[in-house]
Structure formats: C-alpha cells, structure tokens
C-alpha cells in the first residue's frame, strides 16, 4: 500500500527530510509529466486571475456605446461586446470567477462528502439511511439538480457554489465510504481498537489521513466539472448575475451575435477549455502517482 506509507511518512517526516521530499516530488513530476503540464497551465491561470488589474485591462464593466462590437485590434485585443465592453478585460477578470467557483466547490464538496462518507462508513445504522438518500440525490443528473437549486435562489456566486456543491457531495461520500469500509478491515485499525483507542482518535489518526490521496484526486475532477457547471449555469441564465464578468456570462451575451461576432464567444471558450484541461491533467497525473496500480490504465 504505497498510498498509506506516503501519507504516513508525510505526517511523521522530521525536519531533515524536507530536502529529501523535495527531490521525491521532483521525481514524481518527472515520471508524470501531466502534473507538470497541468500544474504550469493552472499556475498561469491563477497568475492571470491575481494580476488581472495590471495586465493591460480596463474596467470589465465599463460600457461605451460608441465602441460596440469592435473586432479584435491593437486597442481591443479580444474586441468589444454589444455594450462596448472590452472582451479582453472581461475574460481576464472571468478567470477569477471560474477559479474561485472551481476551488470552492472542490473544497466544500470534499469536506461535505468526507463527513457524510465517514459517518456512513463507520455507523451501520446511519449507513442504510444516508446511502439511500445519496442514491436518490445521485439519480438526479448533476446539472439538472444544480439548475433546480438555482431556481430557488437569487443568482449570486455564493449560491452558484452551493448549487454545484450539493450534487457533488453524494459522489464524494460514496468514494469515502468505500475507502473507510476497506480501512476498517485493516490490521492496524483492529490493533488500535484492541488497544482501546477511542473512535474519534482512530478516525482522526488512522482513517482520515488514508482517505486523502483518493480525496485529492477526486477534488481535482470536481474542480474541473464545477468550472464547466458554473459556465453552463451562467450560459443558460441561471448562474452568476449578469453584471459579474464570468466566462459563462460573456458567452451568454455573445450568443445572440455568435454568427457574426464569433470572437465574443470564442475567447472565453478557449480560456475555459484550457483551465479545465489544466485541472484534468493535474488530476490524471496525481491519480497515477498516488495509485500506481492505476497508472496508465484509465
């Protein structure tokens, strides 16, 4: 079980092991180039998001009716939309929305799924009820569930995050539950129980760290699909409020003109695809390095 030994070593590593770990990390990256490619691409996107105000952008919401639907040029790199807003600035600021939604959903869905999964995996009584509920939630296609939740609330980034997180929780819960059920059979957990360790401590010390490798891989995929989901919600008009320059909103606004002004739709589309690709590559690489049995398989 490589996954266990690696996470255990990261828990108990003494100070002198830092250099060793750095070189191990370098080795991992070299063996799985997708981590490097995905990671680099993602870092670029994060830098764009952070430094959006200083990358030659103007106010992404500034309307100038005189300059409507200008084609891309030296002055407007990505052209302007039907309200004369600078598409370049809007797309760059849109990076923030996508990354915030993607990361927030990945974190919240992981925490939520982890809690539900551990409870279901450790309590026979709760398991039956919880997993029935999760099965029911999973029977509703994720996007549809998110769309339905958005119908209940006002469009805001917080609500979008919540609406995308909820459909993801059952999937994480099911994964964690499976891992926990497997771990419960491990001799060291038996040993801990026999030694009289309290359940919370077993969960915290033995179960929790071993769910992390699975959880991290799952979280990257959730991050990728959450960014697509956010764009879909905004695109059909049920996502972030139109005032927010998110990629989905820019595409939704460009939709009416796409046959003549294709670039308005295309630029946010390219950014969205690249970001999702980066996260997916990172996830594939992490999965391969954390679970060598799967490497090169899926």
């Amino acid at each position: 079980m490589t996954t266990q030994s690696s996470s255990v070593s990261s828990l108990v590593a003494p100070h002198g092991a830092v250099a060793l770990r750095a070189s191990a990390a370098f080795k991992t990256v070299r063996r799985h180039p997708t981590i490097a490619v995905g990671g680099a691409l993602l870092v670029c996107m994060i830098l764009i998001a952070v430094f959006a105000p200083v990358l030659g952008t103007v106010d992404p919401s500034a309307i100038s009716p005189m300059l409507r639907t200008r084609d891309p040029s030296a002055q407007f790199w990505f052209g302007t939309d039907m309200m004369g807003r600078d598409v370049y600035s809007r797309v760059l600021y849109g990076t923030r929305v996508s990354l915030v939604v993607g990361i927030a959903v990945a974190v919240f869905a992981s925490i939520g799924g982890l809690l539900v999964g551990i409870v279901a995996g450790f309590s026979r009584k709760a398991d039956a009820i919880i997993m029935r509920l999760m099965d029911g939630l999973m029977a509703i296609p994720a996007i549809l569930l998110a769309v339905a939740l958005m119908a209940l609330t006002r469009g805001s980034i917080g609500n979008v995050i919540l609406a995308i997180t909820i459909p993801e929780i059952p999937r994480v819960a099911r994964l964690v539950r499976g891992v926990v059920l497997g771990l419960r059979e491990q001799p060291y957990v038996d040993a801990a129980v026999a030694a009289g360790t309290r359940t919370p401590k077993i969960l915290y010390m033995h179960i929790l760290p071993n769910t992390f490798p699975h959880l991290i891989v799952q979280a990257t995929y959730i991050c990728a699909s959450a960014m697509i989901a956010e764009a879909i919600l905004s695109f059909i008009g049920a996502g972030t409020p139109p005032i927010v320059p998110s990629w989905g909103n820019i595409m939704a606004e460009g939709r009416a003109l796409w046959q003549v002004k294709f670039y308005i739709v295309m630029f946010p589309a390219i950014f969205l695809s690249l970001t999702v690709l980066a996260v997916n590559l990172l996830g594939d690489g992490l999965r391969d390095s954390l679970d060598p049995r799967l490497a090169g398989r899926l």
């Binding site: 939630l137 996007i143 339905a148 119908a151 764009a231 059909i236 046959q259 295309m266 695809s273 899926l298």
Partner: protein
Amino acid sequence: MLAYVLRRLMATIPVMGTVALFVFSLLYVAPGDPAVVIAGDQATPAQIAHIRESLGLDRPFMVRFIEWVWQIAHFDLGNSIFTGLPVNRLIGERLEPTLSLMAVTLVFAILTAVPLGVVAASKAGTWIDRTIMMFAVFGFSVPIFVVGYLLAHVFALELDWLPVQGYTSITKGLWSWLSHLILPSFSLGCVYVALITRVTRATMLEVLQQDYVRTARAKGIGQTKVLFVHALKNAAVPVVTVIGIGVALLIGGAVVTESVFALPGLGRLTVDAILRRDYPVIQGVILLFSSAYVLVNLGVDLVYTIVDPRIRY
C-alpha cells in the same frame, strides 16, 4: 431471473421516493407564494386565501406530499403556472427532439468510443494509444458549448454543409432530421465518447492479459477477431455500466446543447421554466429525467445477463 427483476424494481422505489421528496420540497421551499402568483396583482387577501385553500396549500407537508405522489402515480404532473397548460402536454410536445438527440448521440458515441478504446488498448504505449488518450482528455475538458459553437461556425457557417440551428421532425424526411442532429450529437457526445473510450481501454488492457486471449491467438485467430469477439465480449460489463451511468451526462448536456443549437426539446423547456420559475414544469422535467436515468441503469443491470452469461440471478 424474474425474481431478480422484481427485486431490482423494488430497490428503485426508495431511490425514486427520495427523488420525489426532493422534487416536492423544491416547490415547498420555493420563494414566493404560489397562491399570490396565481391570483395576480389585483387580488384581495380573501381571494388569495380562497385560492390557497382550493389548492390545498394550507395543509401539512406530509399530507400534500402523499397527495402529490398519488397524483404523479396517475401520470398527472399538474399545470404550468405560466401558461396554465398541463405539464404532461408541454413535455409531450418537447419529447421528440430530445429523444432524437439522445438516440443519435448514443449510437454515434458507442460506435466511436468502443472501437477507439479497443484500438488504444491493443496498441497500448504506442503513439496511436497516446493520441487517442489525448483526445479523451480533451473530450473531458472542452465544454459542450465550445465544441458546439466551433462546429457550427466551421461546418454550418463557413462550409455551409449542415444546417446551423433548429430541428425538423423525422416525419419530414430522414436526412433533414439527421442533418439537424449531426452537429448537436457530436458536441453532446464528446464527453461521453471520452468516458466510454477510457473505460473500454482500461478494461480491455486487463482482459488482453488473460489466458484465453493467449489461447485464441495461439489457435491462429486473427487480431481483429481476437480483439472484437474474444476480448471485447469479456470486457463488456464495465463498458455497459459506464454507458448507463454516462446517460446522466447526456441529460445534463442536452440542456446546453439544445440552447446552442436552438432545438425545441425538453432542455429548452427546462431552461425556460427555470427563468420563469415555473415550478410544476421544473418538477415534471426533473422527475421524468431522473426516472429515465434510473430505468436506463436498471436496464443495464439486466443487460449484464445477456453480455455475460456467467452472471446469474
């Protein structure tokens, strides 16, 4: 076998029960009082109270839920708040484009993805394998509307080979029906193809290491026959499973695809209903899609016995 089918059918009841409970609560917790909406701006409080009573909105949650389930069991999904038309009829009118889109996508995706996965597995580690897997990663990453607009831009606007948008019924000719569905199906199918390809490849990699594959090769059976007859048959269960699970992707994707290509289907109905907060329609569509999804996966479970005779119930 019959006992198994019955047992599986029974197992879907709690799942559908949870779905129903969720869908019902949707209306229950929805902001805004339906009675106020239906009564209109000019209504007096007495009129609103009357409407609330006639709709049974003043009764407890569980009573209303059971009544609602009873109504659903009789295939009555209520009336649209916005148009006043029965939800059944609205869904019926929109069913054909969505079913057509999904059917064409399903056929196209399976016919592309399974051979791609088989080839990738048989050429594992070569540039052919790597190229196919690269496309699979791209398929996962490029969102439907991106593929959709790109295809429409190239094949409909620039080259003028296919219609840009819209839908014509299958009753008006097979080609005009199909031609309107090629680009939407391709856009919708990308993720699905990627998913099936990856699973097919992974399963085939395992199967190709089995003794019977070596035996088949030793007997002098050709590569194609070994791959597609001997190996693929044994890899069928995970592949069929992922085809079933992936239907959820198709359902979610249909909502977007129909918006991009202006197909008057259930996805558009959903989007319009969401924007107007037409809850009975939203409930009806979610119930319909979810039961379709559950039924598809029930069907997949039954297909197991056909593709793998070793599985008996």
